[in-house]
């Protein structure tokens, strides 16, 4: 077939181009724009090159916040993924009990972030909160507003309570997709519970686990509202995570150049780590 060159056909791409431009490129470019300039007011902008980036990368407050963020996300994954799998394994398979479990699990997922923060803020209080009061009554010296360890413990516990159900639900759906024949064959082959988990269930959970790990990493890495409501980042700055540091910088101090440079780095970190997770898991499978 002969091709007839007609460059006007490029106009057909225009709607998509506009859509993508407005949804992604333009907002992102605004940030890029701010990140390379120092803007004092309308008409008073100076090009500063990579200065903001260099400054942000050497800023101690940000470095500490970044480390804190990685520790938090790491802890979230280490706790929530195994716990989610365990919960999914223990759930009943059919009947009214299964439905009941699913509903109970789904409830935390439906609660808005700031409400979750508020719930735990009250729940953990030593005077009127059941949890805080209970711990104190049991003889533990628990005070999440004053003690760094207690604050971390509460923030982690809150996130585990809020998001482990997501991992559990994903794993539960993965487990239900395994045909009964595999369990029968394993029973005949005299496989132990552990062997069934290791060689039958876990390999078949791989795909949902990739999704769970990626979702939980991205979400926890961008966490803002819940710790902000619960601890306000304290005591001191011990639970101030990256997005809170960023917000303080952008809105509190109106330091737009630095905040923009920092946003870009933040975005790249999320992208990079997610990509690393994804390739690591899919690659490990190919190598076998």
């Amino acid at each position: 077939m002969d091709k007839i060159p007609n460059n006007r056909a490029w106009w057909l791409v225009l709607p998509v181009f506009i859509l993508v431009a407005f949804s992604a490129l333009v907002p992102l470019m605004t940030v890029v724009n701010y990140s390379v300039q120092d803007i004092f007011g309308p008409g008073q902008a100076y090009f500063v090159g990579t200065e903001w980036f260099r400054e942000v990368l050497t800023n101690e407050r940000l470095q500490e916040s970044l480390i804190r963020q990685f520790v938090f996300s790491g802890a979230v994954l280490l706790i929530q993924i195994p716990l989610g799998i365990a919960v999914a394994l223990m759930m009943p398979k059919t009947g009214i009990k299964a439905s009941l479990c699913l509903i109970l699990l789904a409830i935390p997922l439906l609660i808005p972030w700031n409400v979750v923060g508020t719930i735990w803020q009250i729940f953990g209080r030593g005077d009127i909160g059941l949890f805080g009061w209970g711990l104190n009554e049991l003889g533990f010296d628990y005070n999440y507003t004053g003690d760094t360890g207690d604050a971390w413990f509460t923030v982690l516990l809150m996130d585990v309570w809020h998001w482990t159900p997501l991992v559990a639900l994903l794993c539960y759906s993965g487990l239900r997709a395994i045909p009964e024949a595999f369990y029968q064959a394993a029973e005949i082959d005299r496989a132990s519970k552990w062997a069934v988990f290791r060689y039958i269930q876990l390999p078949r959970l791989k795909n949902v686990l990739i999704i769970a790990v990626l979702l939980r990493f991205m979400d926890s890495f961008m966490i803002y509202t819940e710790p902000f409501v619960l601890t306000g980042g304290g005591p001191g700055s011990s639970t101030t995570f990256l997005s809170q540091t960023l917000t303080t910088m952008a809105i509190g101090q109106f330091d737009l150049g630095r905040a923009a440079a920092f946003s870009l780095i933040y975005f790249l970190i999320v992208l990079l780590v997610s990509w690393l997770f994804f390739t690591a898991i899919t690659h490990a499978d190919k190598k076998q």
Partner: protein
């Protein structure tokens, strides 16, 4: 190795069975002797797989007992019964290699590494999958998967029994025949009780010493292939075994024996005596196509009939004749000359003419 006894066993998948139709297995007693090679033959849905699952322990029978060497095992799991079962739809652990699949039951039994290796290679050689041992099971073809699935059953040495649930359905005919021979050899070599479920009579008779024919939740006959052919105990066995199956004619009682239409079929005196003792109106006579005799000349005990159809199957012919209202199949040698539409004289040798009341054979000694 064990003797497997089923004692007044019955099973229903419904929790409140009310009539016999609710039962997948109707009350039966049966013994699979130690070290035997058995086939369980029957059409789809007759309860074969249910029975196998009850023996292995995957299904709990609703009534009756399962005994291994006289010991009740109803409450024991398949793991405790130490039984191997090969499923109709092959199950392979697809995240593992073929080798690991075959080694899996042995590892679960905590066998030593070097023995596992030897045993896996031995079985892989038998099943002709040695070159695929280190491949991932996910990428195997359907028949290779079935071989791996079967291998996991054969690899264990100390099992009470090996149960096969139509294990060769997706394997091509050439290999099917070879594998059946291999199974037989394995049986002779290791003397393990084997029960082989199939709906293919040829498969059953090449594998087994004795065949249990199952129909509608019951074992209607248990015997050697010859017994099933010559003395079908139930009209279903007559119909199901043989190709084509037994000719079965519904008859009425009359003076000299039984009759249909205007044709009177004389019976042996003992058959008449026994028939008189039974009241049922459901009476049939049966004769295998191989035993019906055809002649071009009339004789005393022959009935005149018309040739409807002749199928030439290469080594023999199947002739269909019309006798009164009934159509009969007759197997004849290739040399027998016969013309469609022509007259022919049919006779039934007494010794091969079977009498059935309520679908069960009337026997001389009972």
């Amino acid at each position: 190795m064990a003797e497997i006894q089923l004692k007044s066993l019955a099973h229903s998948y419904s929790s409140t069975p009310s009539d016999p139709a609710d039962y997948a297995i109707r009350q039966l007693d049966h013994v699979w002797e130690r070290g035997g090679a058995y086939a369980l033959l029957g059409p789809s849905g007759c309860g074969k797989s249910t029975m196998l699952n009850i023996i292995s322990g995957l299904v709990q029978p609703s009534e009756g007992e399962v005994l291994f060497d006289g010991r009740r095992v109803n409450e024991m799991s398949p793991r405790e019964r130490n039984i191997a079962q090969v499923f109709q739809f092959p199950v392979v652990y697809d995240s593992m290699t073929v080798y690991d699949n075959l080694a899996f039951p042995l590892k679960n039994n905590k066998m030593a590494g070097s023995r596992i290796k030897a045993r896996v290679h031995e079985i892989a050689e038998v099943l002709e999958i040695e070159d695929k041992l280190y491949r991932k099971a996910k990428n195997l073809t359907a028949d290779e998967k079935q071989k791996v699935s079967m291998g996991r059953g054969l690899v264990r040495e100390d099992v009470s029994a090996i149960l096969f649930d139509e294990p060769l359905t997706v394997i091509d005919p050439q290999l099917k025949w070879r594998l059946r021979r291999k199974l037989k050899q394995i049986h002779e070599q290791f003397d393990i009780t084997m029960v082989y479920v199939t709906h293919d009579q040829l498969e059953a008779s090449t594998f087994a010493d004795k065949i249990a024919v199952m129909y509608d939740g019951q074992i209607v006959q248990f015997g050697t292939p010859t017994e099933l052919f010559e003395q079908p105990n139930h009209t279903f066995v007559g119909f199901f075994i043989g190709s084509p199956g037994m000719n079965l004619i519904e008859v009425k009682r009359c003076a000299e024996g039984v009759c249909f239409g205007t044709t009177v079929i004389p019976l042996e005196p003992w058959q008449i005596d026994r028939l008189e003792l039974m009241k049922s109106a459901n009476v049939k006579v049966g004769i295998r196509p191989e035993f019906v005799e055809l002649a071009r000349q009339p004789s005393d005990d022959a009935f005149e009939s018309e040739v409807l159809d002749v199928e030439d199957l290469g080594t023999y012919k199947i002739v269909t004749v019309q006798l009164g209202d009934e159509r009969l199949k007759v197997r004849q040698s290739e040399e027998f000359e016969v013309r469609v539409g022509g007259q022919i004289y049919v006779s039934f040798p007494r010794q091969w003419l079977k009498l059935y009341v309520d679908e069960f054979l009337v026997q001389e000694h009972q």
